[in-house]
Amino acid sequence: MANVLTVGANRIWLIEGKAGPANEPQYISMGALGALDWPQGDVTKFERPSDLQYNQWIEAGSFQGSADRVTSTLTTYETIGRSTMLTLIRKKCALDLQIHKGICTDPRDFDGFEKVWIVPNVLLSSFASAEQGALEGEGQAASTEEVGVSGTEIIEVLRMAYTEVAQTQVGEAVVAVDVCDSINCGDCEGTTQSDGCQRVFAVTDGSSSSPGVLPQVVATGNSFSTIVESWISTAAIGTVVNDAGCVGANFVVLVGSTPAIHYASSQDIIDGVASWTKVTTGLTTEPLSIYNYSPLNSFISGKSGYVYAMSNPADGVTTLDAGVAAGAVDLEAINGYDAENVAAVGTNIAIYSRNGLTFSAMTTSPTAALKTVAYRTINEIWMGGTGATVYYTSDYGAHWATKSFPAAVTGVKRIVWANSSVGFILANTASGGRVYRTINGGYSWYLAPENASLSVPTNSALTDIVICEPNKVFIGGTAQGGADGILIKGTD
């Protein structure tokens, strides 16, 4: 039987300035949050005359208005010192509230949560105090302060467990993973209901043995209830796969050896009838990493500092930067916030664009062999590579800050963000890959999984991770021993 929570199982954390790597969460020990109200939009029906009876009408359809903000009231005890709430009210700056829920853990341990509701981007809409005096003794009461809160949404964060999937089908190192899916109600012809995490694609490298095999895609249309394999028949046996991703209706794979892009319809892959196409149009150097924003908007970074744009895989790529911004240094990873804000990294180099067209080197770049880059917000870019340090900047490299991981970490392979609060890092050590998670925008990172009695499946390295929602990820890597691959599903 499920554990029913009581209101006493909630504790409030406040992050002034919103979740972020420099913003320490503050435990509100003498406070309580009122009920959360989150209107989802009034539902309005429209009618038409009944076909069966005069003077009767039937519902012809309905529509729902837009969701409103989350509102509540935060009540705290007033102390003799500075009023936190009054100070925040006067600052008029957005903050985050987190409601940590637990039964058996220490409420003061931020990362020791059992469940969290995050209300991000909160503005304080009102301030009210308790009575400011009592004429008679019976009017004595604790003095309280009450602020109205208004936030963007409620994000639920849960403990996760990690299990290996597709063990039979995966035979080589998994190089890239992506989710080609979105939430679907299944109302339209040809669509099926989906939570957005059903159609998962992983690509395995063909080069991990000699002479090797064809690279292949291991895919599922139902979150690994059934699994299909699709050999990339247009590629060379033993070819190196660098990256892959969903681009519109297609799944696109970037390969080295003979630099090319290979793509097939993601639906055809799932249906077992994939027909692969190889494209080299526009490619001057080996493509290394792909960032896809929309079906017509992809960016690819490559060797010698090249950055390419791709609007349709069939048409190949066009060069946005022929290695000028990066000084001809290989760009190992590219990522973006939207179609304009894009960044790419390589050894001792980070470049960026703010218009999706032209790239410049950051003012300074971390001295490291950078392997991953990710935007936490439109202004804050994270990157990592060899070593146990990750770097972030909010002014395109004019200033850098760092977060350090345990000395056992030999390299950071991937940083990904579900939203501005929740992120994951894949880090590798001599004994295998690890998953780190943050739920406060990178201020603190903890080793996953949350439940110490569980563990991430044994592996020799983790290579790629995709988030489809804050509590569901898919991870690819190399199995223990190095000759096999591993595909992991992390979920609540």
Binding site: T168, G171, V213, I237
Partner: protein, 110 residues
């Protein structure tokens, strides 16, 4: 003209061979060999197990490379029948698939 796939034994191994439907058995060896490739002898099995492997590959209709896609579980059943330890199934499957792919697609494919 309709075709059929028949088993042709050569050198102790079974080869899936494509022949015309009305081809008499004594002429099967003149058909088009589908698989396994000659390089199957590189698989590290005893002569007896290798022969049995080719029999089972034919029986399970693993004729050429495309027949292996999406069918690893069946390949593992063959390995179980041969008494090959489970821990060796994936590496053996990879080796066999590699040989069939090289033969079908060519080493310089792509």
């Amino acid at each position: 003209m309709q075709n059929k796939i028949v088993a042709v034994k050569e050198g102790g191994l079974i080869y899936a061979t494509l022949v015309e439907k009305d081809t008499p058995p004594k002429e099967y060896s003149s058909g088009i060999r589908l698989g396994p490739p000659d390089t199957i002898v590189e698989v590290k099995l005893t002569a007896g197990l290798l022969a049995k492997l080719t029999e089972l590959l034919f029986e399970f209709k693993f004729y050429s490379a495309p027949d292996f896609m999406n069918r690893k579980p069946e390949l593992f059943v063959i390995f179980q029948k041969l008494g090959i330890p489970t821990k060796d199934h994936k590496s053996l499957a990879k080796h066999i698939i590699s040989l069939y792919q090289q033969d079908y697609f060519g080493v310089n494919n792509g």
